[in-house]
């Protein structure tokens, strides 16, 4: 079965510091990978998605970037954090075309709670 790992679980960072959040997946190959942010009182907001190694699409212009150096690794980064970057960051996967129907939904990681101070 698919599993998705995110770390760290919580992070407190000062304004202006860099950020690196990592997401790795197991039990599937060639998945679509997603980074979402969930802010208090707001719905999940799609930040980036990737359909393959080195392929990144951004949905929202912002202070963040993403990379996919390996098939099962997805990284969210920032060079300089802003206060507005605080939130709950979630990585999600969707099996690739050869993995079966997309209709089984996205599998989400356990999330990273980021607080920028």
């Amino acid at each position: 079965s698919q599993t998705i790992h995110q770390w760290p679980a919580t992070l407190v960072q000062p304004v202006g510091s860099p950020l690196s959040l990592e997401c790795t997946v197991e039990g599937t190959s060639n998945p679509n990978l997603y980074w979402y942010r969930q802010a208090a009182g707001r719905g999940l907001q799609l930040l980036f998605y990737s359909v393959g190694i080195g392929q990144i699409s951004s949905e929202v212009p912002q202070n963040l970037s993403a990379s996919r150096p390996q098939d099962r690794q997805f990284i969210l980064s920032s060079k300089k954090l802003l206060l507005s970057d605080s939130g709950f960051y979630l990585c999600a996967l969707e099996e690739g075309p050869e993995g079966g129907a997309w209709g089984y939904g996205y599998t989400f990681g356990s999330g990273t709670r980021l607080t920028v101070v």
């Binding site: 799609l46 359909v51 939904g105 996205y106 356990s110």
Partner: protein, 114 residues
């Protein structure tokens, strides 16, 4: 603009008191509608996918239904362990160079008291 609206924002029930959560959507094209459960500090957990109007799916005390404009999550005789935030999401088809993706509602926070 594609939108997903969930109501109510919060719902408090007594154990055994059945109720329904609503998810209404205005989207240009729908590939599917998803329901998720999210516990505090955790990622959403997949519950159901519905594809077409009239479709129903059940899992334990939960039953999801879909019409052309909305979906309902019915909770029958809830228990305290059903307390969580329930999220609705619609899956849109790809447009232009964009990958189809999920648009989430803000969720309904359900509290079930013993």
């Amino acid at each position: 603009e594609d939108q997903v609206t969930q109501s109510p924002e919060a719902l408090r029930l007594q154990e055994g008191e059945s109720s329904s959560l609503n998810c209404s959507y205005t989207v240009s094209g729908l590939r599917g509608l998803f329901w998720y459960r999210q516990d505090p500090g955790k990622g959403p957990e997949f519950l159901f996918t519905l594809y077409s109007a009239g479709e129903e799916k059940e899992k334990e005390r939960l039953k999801a239904t879909l019409t052309k404009k909305e979906s309902f999550l019915h909770i029958t005789a809830p228990k305290p362990e059903d307390s969580a935030t329930y999220l609705c999401a619609v899956h849109l088809p790809p447009q232009g160079g964009s990958q189809g993706n999920l648009i989430f509602g803000k969720g309904t926070k359900l509290s079930v008291k013993p």
